[in-house]
C-alpha cells in the first residue's frame, strides 16, 4: 500500500519540470522575481498529487473495508421486533471531564446519535436528560428524523446529576409505548454524588443498559463553590472529590480584564475555605480562579459577589402589651424562633419612616398596627412593590386608627373590630399549607374579630374563612410583593390563634413565600430562580438568554451553566450567580443493578462497521476532483 501511495508522488517528481539551470555570469544583477508561472504549475501539481495519493489510500481502504475497525453503538433486537428505547443522556457538569480525545458528554452524544442511527422504522425513541432537574428532551416517538435532530442538538451543561429522576422519567415514557421490547440506555459517567447509594434501577422490570462504561473512569476534580468580597478580603470556598485535595494549587483573585489582585494557597481537604487579602478595598474583584488543572476546567472559576448581610425579619408589635402576656419576647417572635429558621428577627417598635431602615429586611410582621402615617405608607408601599412580604394582623388598634392614619396601601378602607359569636374557621375553607392544621382553627375562643370592608374582602384570596364566610387568613399580590392578613391580632387576650398549630403552619407558609420573593444572590446551577410578581423578566448568562417559564403565577428560570447572570426584572437589573453543585466533583460512579436481560441482549458495540458505501463515494469524489484538476491544468497550459 505504501508503494501505491508513493507511486503518484514519484510520478509527480519525475514529471515535475524543474527550472532550467543556465550559466550566467551577471546572475547577481538579476532580481529573484517570483517565478509565477512555475509556482502556479507547482500548486496544480501538488493538488493533483494529493488527490491521486488520497485516491490510492481510499482505494486501499475500500479493499480492506471488512477489516476497518470502528466502535459504534447499536441496538440489539430479539427476533427482529421493534423496540422502544429511552436514551438517558447525562448532561451534568461531571460529563465535561475528558474521555480520550473527547469529553464524556461528546462521547455520550455521539453514542446517542449512533443508537438513533441503528433504530429502524417502528422503533420508538425517547431522550431524557439527566442533569438536574431531569428533563424530557424528546418524548417517545417513532419519528427517527426528529430523534436524530434532538440527539445532535444536545448541549452540555453545568447542572448537577439526577440519575434517579432521569431513569424514573424514562420509565414513565416507556410505560405507554406499544412495543413489548422496551429498554433504557444510560449514557452517563454515573457520577451523581451518591456513589454509595442503592444501585440504580434496582427492582425495576425495565432493563437498563450502561452503553458506555468507559465514561465512569476515576478522575480528580476540585471546584470553587463561592467567592464573596467584604472590603479588601475575598472569602473563597472550595470543594474537592472524596479524599482529594486542592493542596498545592493557588486561589487567584482577578479584577477587570483578568488582572491578578491577590492570591493564596488553596485549602487542603475535600472542603475548605480561604481568604485572600487584596491590597486595597477600592477595587471590586470580578472572579476567582483555581490555578493548575483537573478533570473539569469549567468549575475552576467563580464570579465574586459582594458579601451579603444576613437576612432579617422585621417584627412590629406593641412590646408593652406583649411583655405583660408572655413575660418575655412577643409571642410572634417566640413562634418564629420555634420554626428554627436561619433568619434573624429584628423587633421594631413601629413601621419606620424611611426606606433605608427596611433595607435588607426579608419580610415584615405587623401585629395590630394603629394605622400608618403618610410616611409609613410610602415606605410600606415601596417595600411591598419591591418584593417584600407583609403579614398584617388586624385587631382593635387597627380598627381605631387615629385621624390621618389609614391601613393603606394594604387595605383601602377602614376595618371594624366587633363582637362575634363564631367559634372559628370553617375547616373546609382552609387551603394551602394551612390545610393540614385546619382543625386547630375551628375553635379560636375569640369574642371579637376584625371585619374588612366588602371591597377589601374581594381583593384578597382567602386561605381560611370564618364559618360565616368572612376571611380569617387571606393574601393578595401587590407589585412584586405580597400582603397576608389575619383578621385576629396575635395577642393572647384576643384569641387562642397563636396557641394553635395552625399559627406555626401559617408562619411557615408565609415565610416560604417571603423567601421565594427574597431572591437569593446565589443558587445551585440547574435550580429554578423564581421572580414572583415580575411583569417583565429577561435573564442572560454565560450560556446566553434563559427561557422564562411561569409556574404558580411566578416567572422563573433555570440556569444551566455556572457563572454570573444578569436579570432585568421590570426594568431593574439584578445580578445572580449559579454556583457548582458540590456533588458534581465526586466523580465516583454509582452502582447499577444488573439487568435480567443481560447486556448482550440490549445492545452491542460493533467493532466492525461496513463503511464501504461511504468509502466508494469518497473515491468517486476524488476521481472527479482529479479530472477537474487535469482539465483546469490543461486549459491553463493552452491559454499560456
Amino acid at each position: 500500500m505504501a508503494v501505491l501511495v508513493l507511486a503518484p508522488y514519484l510520478a509527480h517528481r519525475l514529471r515535475r519540470k524543474s527550472a532550467e539551470e543556465r550559466i550566467f555570469a551577471p546572475a547577481r544583477l538579476v532580481p529573484p522575481a517570483p517565478p509565477q508561472a512555475r509556482r502556479r504549475s507547482r500548486l496544480e501539481d501538488r493538488a493533483l498529487l494529493l488527490t491521486r495519493a488520497a485516491a490510492v489510500v481510499v482505494l486501499a481502504v475500500l479493499g480492506a473495508t471488512p477489516l476497518v475497525r470502528c466502535s459504534q453503538l447499536s441496538l440489539h433486537r430479539a427476533a427482529g421486533a421493534s423496540v422502544a428505547v429511552a436514551i438517558v443522556v447525562d448532561d451534568s457538569m461531571s460529563m465535561r471531564a475528558a474521555s480520550g480525545s473527547l469529553t464524556r458528554f461528546e462521547r455520550a452524544r455521539r453514542g446517542a446519535r449512533e443508537l438513533v442511527a441503528s433504530a429502524r422504522e417502528g422503533d420508538s425513541i425517547a431522550v431524557v436528560l439527566a442533569g438536574t432537574p431531569a428533563r424530557v428532551a424528546l418524548a417517545s416517538t417513532t419519528d427517527l428524523g426528529a430523534a436524530g435532530q434532538v440527539a445532535t442538538a444536545l448541549t452540555p451543561s453545568d447542572r448537577g446529576t439526577d440519575l434517579e429522576g432521569a431513569v424514573a422519567l424514562a420509565h414513565e415514557l416507556l410505560a405507554s409505548a406499544p412495543q413489548t421490547d422496551r429498554r433504557i440506555v444510560l449514557l452517563s459517567d454515573l457520577a451523581d454524588g451518591h456513589a454509595d447509594g442503592a444501585p440504580l434501577n434496582a427492582g425495576s422490570d425495565l432493563p437498563l443498559w450502561v452503553a458506555l462504561p468507559e465514561l465512569a473512569a476515576p478522575a480528580v476534580d476540585c471546584a470553587l463553590v463561592r467567592a464573596d468580597q467584604h472590603a479588601a478580603r475575598v472569602r473563597v470556598e472550595t470543594v474537592c472529590g472524596p479524599a482529594q485535595s486542592a493542596a498545592g494549587r493557588e486561589v487567584i483573585v482577578e479584577g477587570a480584564n483578568g488582572t491578578p489582585l491577590g492570591r493564596a494557597a488553596a485549602p487542603g481537604g475535600d472542603k475548605g475555605e480561604t481568604s485572600v487579602l487584596l491590597q486595597t478595598d477600592a477595587v471590586m474583584a470580578e472572579r476567582v480562579r483555581l490555578s493548575g488543572s483537573d478533570a473539569i476546567r469549567e468549575d475552576d472559576a467563580v464570579p465574586v459577589l459582594p458579601e451579603a448581610a444576613r437576612e432579617t425579619l422585621a417584627v412590629v408589635v406593641d412590646p408593652a402589651s406583649e411583655l405583660v402576656a408572655t413575660g418575655g419576647a412577643p409571642i410572634v417572635e417566640q413562634a418564629l424562633g420555634a420554626l428554627k429558621l436561619d433568619i434573624d428577627v429584628a423587633p421594631m417598635p413601629a413601621v419606620p419612616d424611611s426606606a433605608e431602615e427596611l433595607a435588607g429586611r426579608l419580610a415584615m410582621v405587623l401585629d395590630d398596627p394603629p394605622g400608618f402615617t403618610p410616611e409609613q405608607r410610602h415606605v410600606l408601599a415601596g417595600f411591598i412593590e419591591g418584593g417584600g412580604v407583609v403579614l398584617l394582623a388586624l385587631g382593635p388598634h387597627a380598627a381605631a386608627a387615629p385621624l390621618g392614619a389609614t391601613l393603606e396601601p394594604m387595605l383601602g378602607e377602614a376595618v371594624s373590630w366587633g363582637v362575634t359569636t363564631l367559634r372559628g374557621a370553617e375547616a373546609t375553607t382552609v387551603i394551602g399549607g394551612l390545610a393540614e392544621s385546619a382543625e386547630s382553627l375551628s375553635d379560636l375562643s375569640a369574642t371579637r374579630r376584625t371585619l374588612l370592608s366588602p371591597g377589601d374582602s374581594a381583593a384578597f384570596q382567602a386561605l381560611a374563612n370564618w364559618t360565616d364566610g368572612a376571611p380569617l387568613v387571606a393574601r393578595r399580590v401587590m407589585g412584586r410583593g405580597e400582603i397576608w392578613i389575619v383578621t385576629l391580632p396575635f395577642s393572647l387576650e384576643a384569641s387562642d390563634l397563636t396557641l394553635r398549630p395552625a399559627f406555626l403552619a401559617l408562619l411557615r407558609e408565609w415565610l416560604k413565600v417571603a423567601l421565594d420573593h427574597a431572591a437569593p444572590l446565589r443558587g445551585q446551577v440547574g435550580a429554578f430562580w423564581s421572580f414572583p410578581g415580575a411583569r417583565s423578566l429577561r435573564v442572560e448568562g454565560p450560556c446566553g438568554p434563559l427561557e422564562v417559564t411561569r409556574e404558580s403565577g411566578a416567572s422563573r428560570v433555570s440556569a444551566p451553566c455556572l457563572g454570573l447572570y444578569r436579570a432585568t426584572v421590570d426594568g431593574r437589573a439584578e445580578a445572580r450567580v449559579a454556583q457548582v453543585d458540590p456533588r458534581e466533583v465526586d466523580l465516583r460512579p454509582r452502582a447499577v443493578a444488573a439487568s435480567n436481560a443481560g447486556v448482550d441482549a440490549l445492545g452491542q458495540r460493533r467493532e466492525l462497521v461496513d463503511v464501504s458505501s461511504y468509502v466508494a463515494l469518497a473515491l468517486l469524489l476524488l476521481l472527479t476532483l482529479e479530472m477537474a484538476l487535469r482539465l483546469s491544468s490543461r486549459r491553463a497550459s493552452l491559454a499560456a
Binding site: F24, A25, P26, A27, L29, V30, P31, P32, A37
Partner: protein, 301 residues
C-alpha cells in the same frame, strides 16, 4: 559542480582562432591610415584639452583657461616618440563563458583584441606589457618591444586558462593593478579588457586610478550577447560563474530590471572613468573586432 573549474579547461576560440592570424588581420584593418603613434599623453605637440582630475601634473594645467573660463583644464600633447602599452586582460572564470549565439568565448574575444593592440603597438615600435586578472597561475609579461614580444604575448594568450573568482578574491584585481601601476610609467597607455561583472563596487575607482600620473586609460567591457540581451524566457535558474550566486527567476518578468541593472553598472564605470579622463567602451563578442580595435585606438589617441 564548480562552473569556473569546468570552463577553465581551455579557451573556446570559436570563429576567432587562430589567434596570431586573427590578431594580425584585425591589427592591419584597424591600422590602415594610421601613420604615427596614435598614443596621446605627455609630448611636444599640442593635442587638445581635457578636464583636470586629481593626480594630474599641475605643470600641464592651462592657466589661461582657468582665468578666462574659470575651468580647470589640462593641456594634452601628442608625441612622436614610442609609447608604452600596458594590456590588462581579465582571465577570470566568467570570461570563459560562451553563449549559444556567440562566435567565441569572451576570453577569446579579449585575447584577439589584446593581441591586435599589441601588434599595432609593436609595429610602431612601442613597448608592450601584459598582465592578467586571474589566479596566480597566469603570470604577467614584462614590458618589451619587437617581434619576439608579440610572439610571447600570443603564446601567453593561447596558453591562458580562464579561472579564478574575482568576487570572492578581490585581491586578484589588486595584484594585477599594482603590477600595472608599477610598470606603466608616465605617458603609458593602459587598456583593460574585462566583462566587469564580478568585481566589487570599489573596482571602478581602483581601475580609474590608473589614469593618474600621466597615464592614458581605456576600459573595454566585453560581454556575451546573452549577457547583453538577456534572451531567456520562462522560469530559469541562473548560476554565476564567480561568487556562487544562484538565482531562480521568471525571465520575462525580470528582463527589464536586469537590463536596467546592467545599464546602471556600465554608467557607474563610465562616470568613474570619465572623472579621471579615461575612456569606457562596451562590446559584445559578436561585434566587429576590427571596428572595436579601431575605436580603441581612436579613443586613446
Amino acid at each position: 559542480m564548480n562552473a569556473a573549474r569546468e570552463i577553465r579547461q581551455a579557451i573556446d576560440w570559436g570563429e576567432l582562432g587562430p589567434l596570431r592570424l586573427r590578431a594580425s588581420q584585425v591589427a592591419e584593418g584597424a591600422y590602415a591610415g594610421l601613420h604615427r603613434s596614435a598614443l596621446r599623453g605627455a609630448g611636444v605637440e599640442f593635442g587638445g584639452y581635457r578636464e583636470y582630475v586629481a593626480g594630474d601634473d599641475l605643470r600641464r594645467l592651462d592657466r589661461r583657461s582657468l582665468l578666462r573660463h574659470h575651468r580647470l583644464l589640462v593641456r594634452q600633447f601628442e608625441t612622436e616618440t614610442d609609447r608604452a602599452l600596458a594590456l590588462v586582460v581579465d582571465a577570470s572564470a566568467s570570461m570563459g563563458f560562451r553563449g549559444s549565439e556567440a562566435k567565441a568565448s569572451k576570453i577569446a574575444f579579449a585575447a584577439v583584441v589584446a593581441a591586435a593592440l599589441a601588434r599595432i603597438a609593436i609595429a610602431n615600435g612601442d613597448p608592450v606589457s601584459m598582465s592578467f586578472i586571474a589566479d596566480e597561475r597566469a603570470q604577467p609579461i614584462a614590458r618589451s618591444s619587437g617581434r619576439e614580444q608579440f610572439e610571447r604575448i600570443v603564446a601567453a594568450l593561447e596558453a591562458l586558462e580562464p579561472g579564478g573568482d574575482a568576487f570572492t578574491d578581490p585581491g586578484m584585481l589588486d595584484r594585477s593593478l599594482r603590477w600595472v601601476a608599477r610598470v606603466a610609467r608616465r605617458g603609458a597607455i593602459v587598456v583593460v579588457i574585462s566583462d566587469l561583472l564580478d568585481w566589487g563596487p570599489e573596482a571602478a575607482e581602483k581601475v580609474a586610478s590608473l589614469a593618474s600620473s600621466g597615464r592614458v586609460l581605456a576600459v573595454v567591457q566585453t560581454l556575451d550577447p546573452v549577457e547583453a540581451n538577456f534572451p531567456f524566457s520562462g522560469t530559469v535558474r541562473l548560476r554565476a560563474l564567480e561568487g556562487g550566486s544562484v538565482v531562480e527567476t521568471d525571465a520575462d518578468a525580470t528582463r527589464t530590471a536586469y537590463l536596467a541593472a546592467l545599464r546602471a553598472l556600465n554608467d557607474g564605470w563610465r562616470e568613474s572613468l570619465a572623472k579621471r579622463g579615461a575612456q569606457f567602451l562596451s562590446a559584445t563578442t559578436n561585434d566587429s573586432l576590427t571596428g572595436l580595435v579601431r575605436s580603441i585606438v581612436q579613443t586613446i589617441r
